[in-house]
Symmetry: C2
């Protein structure tokens, strides 16, 4: 279990899905250090697209990478969600005040929120009643330039520390690349999908295999209240995301469907 000398400072957990040596994680850890004591727990290699996956088939190891006065860095062989679970259950001396995930190298807007390991880490935080934010920069390069993004990351941390977040809600923050950022837009998740295209290859034994690739498609390009619109127009998008994914309006519709006696009909099939 970690300990800090100045233990009155806020305790901030930082994770990501690009791995412990990613530039975006380093930037986020440095910014977090301006606000409190920082524990970084990150995957030992890139775990992109891991969503909320947990590791149940093999055990998890934790290794300390470095220790400074106000920042300790660990890596694990787990997913981002595993990293948060290990931090909360094994490493941290108390519940952290804030969980920050990222800064991801690449967009996590629209429906990508469902696949993102970065957002998996943030979701796990809120499941444990801790204010949590996932940050992503729209630049997949390992050498991406985070300099313009930093002031917005600070602005959002300021707001979360000042106002807190609604219970059961985490933030999905995406930041355009480039230096001409216009400000922050709070918005909703755009409807979008990946036009999946697998690249087909053949191995030396003539077996076909497939690499996942794909192109994102915004399914509501004319809507102006979405994260996709904000990002396309130079704004940082902030989408508050729920833990409760129940479609409450559908509950009543379905209740009516199930109130009719189709039980007999279905039974006659068996």
């Amino acid at each position: 279990m970690v300990e800090f000398e100045e233990n009155h400072r806020p305790l901030i957990l930082v994770t990501n899905d690009d791995g412990f040596d990613a530039k975006g994680l380093d930037v986020l850890g440095q910014i977090a250090g301006e606000y409190g004591n920082v524990v970084v727990v990150a995957p030992d290699e890139a775990r992109s697209g891991m969503s909320n996956a947990i590791t149940v088939k093999h055990p998890l190891f934790i290794k300390k990478i470095s220790q400074q006065k106000n920042k300790i860095i660990f890596k694990t062989n787990g997913t981002p969600v595993d990293c948060v679970k290990l931090a909360l259950n094994v490493l941290l001396p108390r519940k952290p005040d804030l969980i920050l995930s990222g800064i991801n190298h690449g967009s996590n807007s629209s429906s990508s929120v469902h696949y993102s390991g970065t957002l998996g880490g943030a979701r796990e935080g809120v499941l444990n009643k801790i204010a949590s934010v996932g940050f992503s920069l729209l630049d997949y390069s390992p050498e991406a330039d985070f300099s313009a993004a930093q002031q917005f990351v600070r602005q959002i941390i300021d707001k979360v520390l000042q106002f807190g977040l609604p219970e059961e809600t985490f933030l999905n923050v995406n930041i355009p690349k480039g230096n001409q950022l216009k400000g922050v837009k709070v918005c909703r998740q755009a409807k979008g999908k990946w036009g999946e295209e697998f690249v087909e290859r053949e191995d030396p034994r003539k077996q076909k295999y497939y690499w996942l690739t794909g192109t994102f498609q915004n399914l509501e390009p004319n809507a102006t209240d979405t994260d996709e619109y904000a990002l396309a127009n130079g704004f940082v998008s902030v989408v508050p995301c729920r833990l409760d994914i129940t479609d409450h309006s559908a509950v009543d519709i379905l209740k009516q469907q199930y109130s009719t006696n189709s039980y007999i009909k279905s039974k006659s099939k068996s």
Copy 2:
């Protein structure tokens, strides 16, 4: 690409996260065969807890396991989401009429929906505009008894084929174990969390390692409109789940927070 002789029948894709040889998948495939031509695409081994994870770091292989007149079974080295993507992009001759995932060996109620590979498969279906349902039985045993569950699986498939589902909504169906099932309750996802407890061990080189385990906690035990309540009282729970996870009520709250000029404040920190 697969072909069926009787190609006027509905086309149903079946997947799961317990693997191609799980009993629950076999049961679901058989029921699906009563309604149409069935293509099963399932992981080559158990991929529990994989959520919406996708495979980006290695290529995917597909192997045909068996072919009957109206049912073809494939396994892949991917996650449930990968299985659906491969089916839609590589294997199926057309968009399927229905995607069924499961029947999972073990519960996926409440917040488990976020970790479940079974539900990942269903979510991927709806992302592709296909009516999709995930089924789980509250029995982790590989030899679980699905006999009482089957009539409810049929009832739900009947309803989905008759009424369709709201756009962007999939169903999370959980079924109690035992033979005393009382009926179907359409309900909402209970607030719940896993009290994570890692089992700590030591390897021969004296390195500590951790196995993920945990106990589920229903955070609203007195609510009567939740899936947890339905299941505890002998009902099959049906929760309609949204793709849009935006917390729409929080959008307005956050907009107000971000309308004040804290930009200057945050900038002064850098």
